[in-house]
Structures are given as structure tokens and as C-alpha cells.
Amino acid sequence: MDVTELSAKVELLQAGLEAANKMNMEAFYWWCTALMIAIHAGFLAYEMGASRAKNALASGIKNALAFAFMVPTFYFIGWWIYLAFPGGFSIAEGSEAGLAWSLNMGPNLTDSASGVFWAAFALFAATTASIMSGSVIERMRISAFVILAIFLGSFVWILGASWGWNPAGWLTTKWGLHDIGAAGCVHMISGFFTLGVLINLGPRIGRFNPDGTANDLSGHNMPMSLIGLMLIVMGFFGFLGGCIIYTPDGWTTIYNTPVNLSAFAFNALMGVAGGMIGTYIATRDPFWMMSGALVGVISAASGLDVYYPAFAFVISFVGGLIIPRIHDVLVKLKIDDPVGAVSVHGFGGVWGVLSMGIFAAGYPNVEGPATSFGGQFMSMLVFAALGFFPGFISSYVLKSVRLLRVPHAAELAGLDICEIPIKAYPESHVPPSVHKTPPVAGTPPMGSGATART
């Protein structure tokens, strides 16, 4: 074989390697996106189960519509926001690649990256809306939820991601923020946005007594909720995969620092386990135990690349002990959050971002200062404010024009019977006339929890 032949073969091999790299990258994010859809299947089951039977389908339809509206609106504006605002509010050069009419935003044989990254981020966006959806079940209008979900998913969180989950984001370049698992931009922003919404939305009818004590308005299907939560945990492995950047030279974090999937595997699983055990010890409640899996992964999220796995377990265990208590405080403040999203995601995110600063300061960043408690703390405040104020203001506006909450009569009757053309449990339906008929001796009483009216 002469030199010419050899160099031709080398060129051929190089071209093959480049093509394989491109395809591997595309395939990786494609499957991460597919796995993330399990998060939505999980939230769907979780929230329908956590609703009383009279509201089961209305809760499901909200969740499904959040997904359906998030995809096009994130295409229209969301991806551009991510590329445009890493510096704050000034528009970055090159961000036009994210505009919906750019040549990168559709079939383009010279761009293998835009579509799969956009898809993964669209699913992150839909996750933020799903985090909110469980908290507002049984009393928010579908239209109001869709509007708020679009605002949260296609505008607010992605601005936070541009600031703090981007190699050029100002929270990283100025303060050294390190939050690779998105405890801040996804979980904190969604949780605090939801808190702002809940203040304006108010509690469900019957949730609190005049003396301030709370009543239990249990959902109709806890087993379905538990399965849903486990599906969310599974989907989070797609979510965390989407947090890693595939390059021809190996994996990096979203901040361009080196990492590998093994680090994520150790710490994500140890985090899930720590959170489950912590919440179980704190409550003995299977619902909280499965929410604790989320608490665990969020508690360890910021430092998934750097923690010693046993320590990630401990951080998540502590998160699991604390978060149910924070939910109790919110209940005392008459915040009606049926699924605990504010405490799990909002305050779990606070613990995750701060833990990185408390226990893992001093790691170098590619751009900006090293990780520090001060940087993590100030970034945490930014995420909390960026979530809370848009949520509070947008829901206040909807409340002012009477678009936020369903009428009392609809809430009492149940949202399914009012808005949905099909029934969740048609064979369990008991017509109102049956309730008026005196029971015949020897026949079992009709009507069950499935048709109970609060």
C-alpha cells in the first residue's frame, strides 16, 4: 500500500468517524427526549390519582395540554430566548439561529444539533409546566393553566436557563454558579412560580376550616399516583442525560467542564435512594416516600458531577427529612398545594443549589470564578425571584379578569362533569336521581367515593 492509498484510507476513516459521532450525538438526545416523555406520563398518572374522582380527567387534560402547547410555543420563542439572553437582557450574537424562521429550525442536512437540542429543551420546558400542574388541580380553569404553563415553560424558566444553565450565562461567568442538574432553573423557578400562582388562586373549597386547621382532601387513586411518581423518576434519567453535552472528545457538563455518565449514574441513583429513605423516615407515607425520590435527585442535582456518592446520599437524605416539614409550614400558611410541588421542587431546589456552595466550593469553571457559597446563594435568590414574581403577577392579572379560577358551582360539582365530554369511571356513575330514592331493604347502598361530592 503506497502513501497516497494510505492517506485516502485515513481520510475515509476520519469521515466515517465524524459521521458516527454526529449520529451518536443525535441518537443520544433523541432517546433522552423519548425518556423524558415518561416524566409526563408520570405526572399525568400522579395528578389524576391525586385528584378526587370528580376532577380526574380535568387534571389529566391540563397535563396533556401543557405538553401540547409547550412544544409549538417553545418552537416559536423559547429556543431563541435561551440563545439570546445569557448576558442578562442584551441580545447575544448568533442567537438568530434560534428564531423560528431561521434555516437551523427545520430539516437541514448541515445542522445535526439544533433539532435534538431544541427537542430536549422543549421537554425540559414541558416538565416545568407539569411541576406546576399538580399544585393547581381541582380549581384552576384549563385556559388559565395553559396560559400560565406557556408563560412559565416558553418564557420564564428558559430565561433562567440562559442565565444559569449555559456556558456563557452571567450567573456562571460572574458568580461561578454550578448547577448541572438544573435544581435552580428548572426546579426552583417552577416551584416558586407555582407559589406565586397559589397565593392568587387560593385553596380548594373545604381545604381549610375557619379556625385555620386543614382538612384532608385525598385523591381518589393513590396507587396510580405512586406508579406515576416512579415513572417520573425513570423519566428523570432522560432529563439528566439531556443535561450532559456530547462532544467528539467526550462528555462535558453544560458549563463545558469535563464529566462522564458514570458520575451521574452514581450520584443520581444515590440521591434518589437518599431522598426516598429520608422522606419515609420523616413521614412513613408512601406518597411522600415517592416524592422523596424527586427530592433526592433535586437535592444532589447541582453537584452530580462532583459529589462522592455516599455524600450525595446523605445530602438527599437530609433533603428528604426537611422537605415534608416545609410542606407542613406552607399548609399552616394556608397554601393549598395538593402534590407538594412548591416544597419538593422549589425548596428542594434551594437545598440543591445551596448544598453545592456549602459542600463543593472551589471547583474551577471554564469561564468565570470558581464555585463558591456566595455565588450559589446569590444565584439561588435570582432563581427564586425569577420564578416567584412572574408567577404572582401573571396569575394576579388572570384573577383580575376572572380567568384564573373556576366558579364555585363548578368546583363543587366537579370539573369533569362540567367541562369534559366523557367520564373517568362511567360504570361507577350514580345519577343524581338515585340519591333521591329511598334505599330498598337488603340492597347495598349505591354511590361511592368515586362520585362523592364535596
Partner: protein, 55 residues
């Protein structure tokens, strides 16, 4: 309907069917935005009708 913006694969880069001119791209984009807005308005109308029936 002959709507392919390309006639051969060699050298093909971006190809958006029905959207091979900037004006058409913008029109389709605005149409998709309008559909989304219409859908939200439709949900509001459906809710209002449902609540009226309940009274």
C-alpha cells in the same frame, strides 16, 4: 402537487416544504401562532359555556 424546493440531493442543505421564500416562512409561522391563540380562545369559550349550563 409539485412542492419540493429541491431537484437533487447533491448540495442540499435546508429545505422547508411550502416555505422556500422568506415571506412564505413568515406567513406559515404567523399562521401557526394564530392557530395556537385560537385554540386558547376556544378553550375559554368552551369553559364559559360549560359554566353557564351549570347555573
Amino acid at each position: 402537487m409539485h412542492s419540493s424546493p429541491i431537484t437533487k440531493w447533491e448540495g442540499a442543505e435546508a429545505f422547508f416544504t411550502f416555505a422556500d421564500k422568506p415571506g412564505v416562512v413568515m406567513f406559515l409561522f404567523l399562521l401557526a401562532v394564530a392557530v395556537s391563540v385560537f385554540a386558547i380562545v376556544s378553550i375559554i369559550k368552551h369553559e364559559n359555556q360549560s359554566y353557564r349550563k351549570l347555573k
